[in-house]
Amino acid sequence: MDRVLPRRINWPLIGLLAPATLLLVIIFLVPFFQLLITSFWTYVPGTVLPKTAFTFENYTRVITDTYNLSVYKETVLISLLATVVTFVLAYPLARLIAKQKAAVKSLLFVLVILPMIGGAMIQTLGWMTLLMRYGAINGTLRSLGIIHQPIAFLGNELGIIIGLVQSFLPLMIIPLVASLGAIDESIENAARSLGANAIRVFFEVTFPLSLPGAIAGSILVLMANLTSFVTPSMLGQGKIQVFGTYAYQEAIQVMNWPFSSAFAIFFIVFTGLVALLVSYLSRAMTRSRIRAQEALYE
């Protein structure tokens, strides 16, 4: 429609953009500056508002405190494990969905997205009733005679990983379905008619072609796992401390705002670096794979 010359002030355009921009700047961006500033202030125990004396103390604690380091280790370990499990589980389901006709596909899509739109609280509540000491899973296993003592799912990494995988599977499945659905079936058929069996077709044709979706999904899920709060808080029952639960504890319960601000800044830098590293590594992997295949067919 209207092509606008950049130098003239375009009032309708400004009018369209201004409300959303103002809202985002005032409510979304300014709090990040607040974080940055408070992270250099001094905490006074017993009061909420910190002293404005400049200090690096908070960052020193973020980086060197051994308890904090164990929290990072726990968070990264749980998140990586959950991401790998999510990927492995998502793939067959994404493939099944991608192959369906439109009507079935859209029904499956709605079912798959339910854990996401249902919200973390309801999913976690369901998991708690399933995973409790006398919950549905332990009850079923016991009545079948498979176990005699209930398995402890809550208050440890196992329950958290189960909860995280279920909550964030949609984030992996959606990009995977898009990637798998875009693959031209004649390529797979060609490989098959040349004598490759199903497993070989999958690893040499389907899987490499689905890598963009797999990478996008993995990054989304890894980030979601690293920044999760409700699932580790409820299923960990306060016994497992990860980034999210620790930030909540320091900001809301201890009310040490300078430290929680420094922690939050560190956290966002850390997750940003992880995302960059993962996308760099996976792109490098894809490239070397393509090169290896080109060398093979030359």
Binding site: L93, Y134, V230
Partner: protein, 263 residues
Amino acid sequence: MNDKIVAKLTNGIALIVLAFMLLPIIVLFLNAFNASRIFEFPPRGFTLEWFIQLSNSQEYQTSIRVSTMLAISAVVLALVTGVPAAFAIDRYQFPGRNFMQGLFLSPLLLPSIVWAVGLVQYYARLRILGSFPGMVLAHSIIIIPYVIRLVLSSFAFLDRELENAARSLGASPIRTFFEITVPLIIPGIIISAIFGFMISFTDVVVSSFVSGALYIPFPVRVYSELRSEGIDPLTIAISAVIMAAIILIALVGEKMIHWSKYV
């Protein structure tokens, strides 16, 4: 190995994964009718007791009312600001266009828990911590990215020829916008409104940071209850009702406006 066996095996695994994803939801539905007061498995018998108690519980009704009001207000604010912004991004070429789009989507990309740590301090300074307007503003931020994305994708589906036809038949740009463009992007707006409502209604992270003692949204109530007292059958019953509503909306929405193609 035989190709057919491999295919059957992977499809079997896929269905197990689907069952795993829906397991907590299914169990919630079953438990809502479980007769024992203390949570027990296997269930002791069928009852509607919890649903009857629910309709008499002031506390639950209040938190549901707070969540509903909050979600509606936040959706309205996100639509009023987000739809014009999406329109501007779709129709205008201007310097910093990509930057603006990035800004509008950023609440989806940056971890909300980090933002919440800053927001609680910021709100405390502005003296709006725990206030209803403060909560509405915060929730509209987490909804805006969805509005922008869904409305932008409905602009992408829109056939520009219809607008051109209206213009060439003598309709003014404003008339064309309201009579041709808006009706065509209505599905995108409805979907983002419903999505936004669900996001706000089920949010725990942002709410548990900025809600005070006066307005406690439903998920925050459940969260603090589970941390202190354990599972109350009423909580399970009400969560089952909410989940049933979400499933119904999702299925009807898919049937009527095929929302999955916008995601």
